[in-house]
Amino acid sequence: MRKPASLLVLISFIMLFLGWVIGTFFTQRTVAKVVASIPASPIVVNAKYDREKHAIYYSMLNPGGMPLTVVEESFVFTPGKNSKEKGYILSHIPVHVVLLPGAITQVELKLKAGTQKLQVGDAVLATFTYTHPLSKDIYTLVHPFTMGVKQTKAKKEEGGK
């Protein structure tokens, strides 16, 4: 750094870098705002049956930047081979679960009280109704749940025969 020319070159390089950082910052903020204003559809990443409470717990991910609200649950119960229970439908169970943006939220689905505990092979087709703050429309999410993982493997083997 003996000559003023090298000083000026150094300063202009830092200036360019600073300008790049500023541009990146503002672009990033704008993009973040745009993305945050897009309502996304929730994704069920995991479903678990709680035997003691006789309920299915769904882990729902909201990948967007806006909160979604689950307002209604319905489900169709189809008994498997091991079950003595008859099939039944429960619909329009009002709930109010807010799915926070970018987070996983637990949603509980209580099965009909007094019915048999879920056996391997029982299927529950759940329908969740949700809304988002930008419109009055109602959206649905349908998730099929089959009790037990081993059963599906056995089915595959049967199909092979």
Binding site: M1, L8, L18, I22, F25, F26
Partner: protein, 186 residues
């Protein structure tokens, strides 16, 4: 006549302030980061102004001294005192231009220190927000935008400081040479 001009000026000033407030408030609602950036830039420039102009004047005068041009001592001595009479009182014109310039540079040291301190504190906050040591979705981006706005005058101050140091050291060497040549003649 004077009163009319005064009233016109006052009305214009009030209009500008009202319009500016309106403009700023609409901008704040739409894009708070941009406003924070602007405020950081203008606010830090307000404090950097003295340093930026003084360092560039020092660099300018020192480079003319180094290349052997004549620089008026009174013009530079003015910047070292509050009233012009003090130049006579302190006998500043008897000093060489390079000595006056180095005194001026020394007088700027506390301002430089305070300025860099303020910038460092702001930078510290924005780094703490960036690393999520303290986190706030509202204040994080705003502090970062403030820092980015403040970085522009800070970089100018730093660059001009380096440049004025370079030219000042050249001017000091040049005037020391002149002094030793005069002593040899005697």
């Amino acid at each position: 006549m004077k009163k009319i001009v005064w009233w016109i000026t006052l009305i214009l000033f009030t209009l500008i302030v009202i319009l500016g407030t309106f403009f700023l408030s609409t901008l704040v609602a739409a894009n708070p980061e941009a406003v924070a950036f602007l405020l950081g830039f203008l606010g830090f420039w307000l404090f950097a102004n003295r340093l930026i102009f003084a360092f560039s004047q020092i660099a300018n005068a020192a480079s003319s001294v180094a290349s052997g041009e004549v620089v008026e001592k009174e013009e530079i001595a003015k910047n070292l005192v509050k009233r012009e009479e003090e130049v006579k009182l302190r006998n500043l014109t008897e000093l060489s231009v390079a000595a006056l310039l180095s005194m001026w540079r020394g007088a700027l040291e506390p301002f430089k220190y305070a300025y860099y301190l303020a910038f460092f504190l702001l930078l510290l906050f924005s780094v703490l927000f960036e690393l999520n040591i303290i986190s706030s979705l509202v204040f994080g981006p705003i502090v970062e935008a403030l820092t980015l706005g403040a970085a522009i005058p800070t970089l100018l101050v730093w660059g001009l400081e380096l440049l004025s140091d370079y030219y000042l050291s050249k001017a000091v060497i040049e005037s020391l040479k002149e002094i030793s040549e005069e002593q040899e003649k005697k």
